[in-house]
């Protein structure tokens, strides 16, 4: 009996030893900073940027907590518009990625097994080059054609940077489809288009939703592409956040924007998860 109790104690100890270090690290450098950000979004900006103290250090100083940042946000249509624009850019990017990813994912899934790994590797390789290098590549191509600093340049490189995120989950899904379903559809008289639209496509919905989330969410927070390749009207939420922290140094406002962005991301992720689960049930 004692040895079993010892074993249980040893098991509990190992469990504790294994879980604690990552837990403490992430508590300190992920969970707490996130909470600080929530609090910061309710604070006043400091006189020289940053945050004002929570307790006033001298009379007349703005200190403590306020909902002012949120009031400014909801009181002015401009900020709302930038969020809408970010959603628009993310939506269009996701759609273009989907249209471009589908044939590739389908081709890989229908190729002989021994070729698939190589074809997937060929999708991943360009994605392994530095993100800024991939943006820079478009500067070289679009520069002499006078297409830089435009909405077109922004969308093009957004698609370029995120395309593999759509291809991979889509391929993982399509690979699992049973080819017998397509044969059955053909025997029942469905032509090529009908077989795609009524069999393959509905079955691939979970892959589409997870790929879409992987493209949509990073685009929503992107600041480098609009900054490098876009004009001033191409600014997205990410640019506003960056500007609040490093430009105007109004940290509370930047924190508020980050919180709003987090809420949007959570909403999108929850919706993608829900749609994917529903897609699985229906299929």
């Amino acid at each position: 009996m004692t040895s079993r109790a010892d074993a249980a104690r040893a098991h509990g100890l190992t469990r504790w030893l294994v879980s604690t270090p990552p837990f403490v690290f992430l508590l300190l450098f992920f969970a707490i900073p996130s909470l600080i950000m929530v609090v910061a979004s309710f604070r006043f900006p400091g006189e020289f940027g940053g945050l004002a103290p929570l307790v006033p250090t001298r009379p007349g100083e703005e200190a403590g907590l306020t909902a002012e940042n949120y009031e400014v946000f909801f009181g002015d249509w401009v900020y709302f518009q930038i969020f809408l624009k970010s959603f628009g850019v993310a939506g269009i990017t996701t759609l273009i990625c989907l249209v471009m990813a589908y044939p590739v994912a389908m081709l890989i899934a229908r190729s002989p097994k021994r070729h698939r790994d190589l074809m997937v590797l060929l999708v991943i390789l360009p994605f392994a080059s530095n993100f800024l290098v991939r943006v820079y590549a478009w500067m070289i191509i679009l520069g002499p054609m006078d297409l830089l600093f435009s909405r077109f340049a922004v969308l093009l490189s957004m698609v370029y940077v995120h395309l593999p995120f759509m291809i991979l989950p889509l391929y993982t899904n399509l690979e699992k489809h049973d080819p017998a379903l397509l044969d059955a559809a053909q025997d029942l008289g469905a032509n090529g288009w009908e077989r795609f639209w009524r069999v393959t496509f509905p079955l691939s919905l979970p892959g589409i939703f997870s790929g879409s989330a992987l493209v949509f969410i990073p685009v929503l927070g992107m600041f480098a592409i609009p900054e490098i390749l876009g004009g001033k009207d191409d600014w997205l939420v990410g640019n506003m956040i960056k500007e609040s922290f490093l430009g105007t140094r109004d940290w509370p406002f930047g924190s508020m924007l980050s919180i709003m962005l987090t809420l949007c991301v959570l909403g999108v992720a929850a919706m993608a998860a829900w749609l994917a689960a529903r897609g699985v049930k229906r299929a």
Partner: protein, 317 residues
């Protein structure tokens, strides 16, 4: 006939690639390539379906693969071009690489990048492996949210929250006990560990999920202590996953721009930060040269990771 159409398409893509280097002949060549692409599509459409049922998938996929590779190929080719402008092919030179080797800022940034990536990858591998085991074996309930959220969030959110944390919380707290602390190498390393832990944990967990649980029970029944079980059974089995995770963390860290941008402060530069400054101020083929070198490094990492643990390359799910 449909195979011929695909050959025509490949030729058209090659012409499109060449057009970027052609200077004044750029637009005629592009027009020609577009006409050839349309011709190939027409030929494929008119040919009998039986000759190649997957024609359209191939036709479209080739275009997408070209879209993925042409921009990078252009960066590489221009890094050997004997001209200050990335506009037209003039002649071959290694000048830009020589110049890079003499660029003290760039070399220091490269040194920083490697130092950060090695430290961050080592720490993230240890913590990430622990997290992967804790989540899979011990069904930890709090860890998954904390480990996987930083991976799924837009990077800027982690970057700014750490910026606020380091400057507003950690700096005064440490100053009050007499420790001087500011943004720099250490904060970048911490930030990189934070987002790399999740990637390592995902790979390690996937590796554990593919294994037979009864091996561990057998080890325990044979009287192995938890530490012996880990060292003699678990670790050798998950080692490929751990190594792949480490390589992945190294690659992510050395390539990271956004999080580094917010946590590095003014004095510390890494390669991506240098590239960012260069493409925002003066674009010269030196950027191409450093990009090409960075690409080679990442490529090597991926090939090694693929050798050690092929499952890493199979989708991100």
């Amino acid at each position: 006939m449909r195979r011929l159409a695909l050959v025509i398409e490949v030729v058209a893509i090659a012409i499109l690639f060449a057009s970027v280097f052609a200077g004044a002949a750029r637009y005629p060549l592009m027009g020609g390539a577009t006409a050839l692409l349309a011709g190939a599509a027409f030929l494929g459409w008119r040919s009998p379906r039986r000759s190649m049922p997957g024609f359209w998938l191939w036709y479209l996929s080739l275009l997408v693969y070209a879209f993925l590779y042409l921009p990078l190929a252009i960066v590489v080719v221009f890094s050997f071009n004997n001209s200050k402008l990335n506009a037209e092919w003039v002649g071959f030179t290694l000048d830009w690489y020589h110049r890079l080797m003499g660029n003290a800022d760039m070399l220091q940034a490269a040194g920083n990048s490697v130092l950060i990536a090695l430290t961050a990858a080592a720490m993230a591998t240890i913590l990430g492996t622990m997290a992967g085991i804790a989540i899979h074996r011990y069904k930890s309930r709090v860890l998954p949210g904390m480990v996987f959220t930083p991976v799924a969030m837009p990077e800027i959110l982690l970057g700014v929250s750490l910026l606020v944390f380091f400057l507003n919380t950690a700096k005064p707290a440490l100053a009050s006990v007499g420790v001087e602390f500011d943004l720099g190498l250490a904060t970048v390393i911490i930030a990189h560990i934070t987002f790399c832990i999740g990637f390592v944990a995902i790979i390690v967990r996937a590796r554990l999920a593919g294994m037979d649980e009864s091996i561990f029970e057998a080890a325990r029944d044979l009287g192995a202590s938890p530490w012996q079980t880990f060292r003699l059974v678990t670790l050798p089995l998950i080692l490929p996953g751990v190594i792949a995770g480490a390589l992945m963390a190294f690659t992510l860290s050395i390539d990271d721009f956004v999080i580094t941008f917010f946590t590095s402060g003014l004095g510390t530069k890494t390669l991506p930060l240098e590239i960012y400054t260069m493409i925002k101020t003066a674009v010269t083929p030196e950027v191409n040269a450093v990009s090409t070198l960075l690409m080679l490094l990442t490529l090597a990492m991926i090939v090694i990771a693929g050798r050690v643990a092929p499952e890493v390359l199979r989708g991100k799910e």
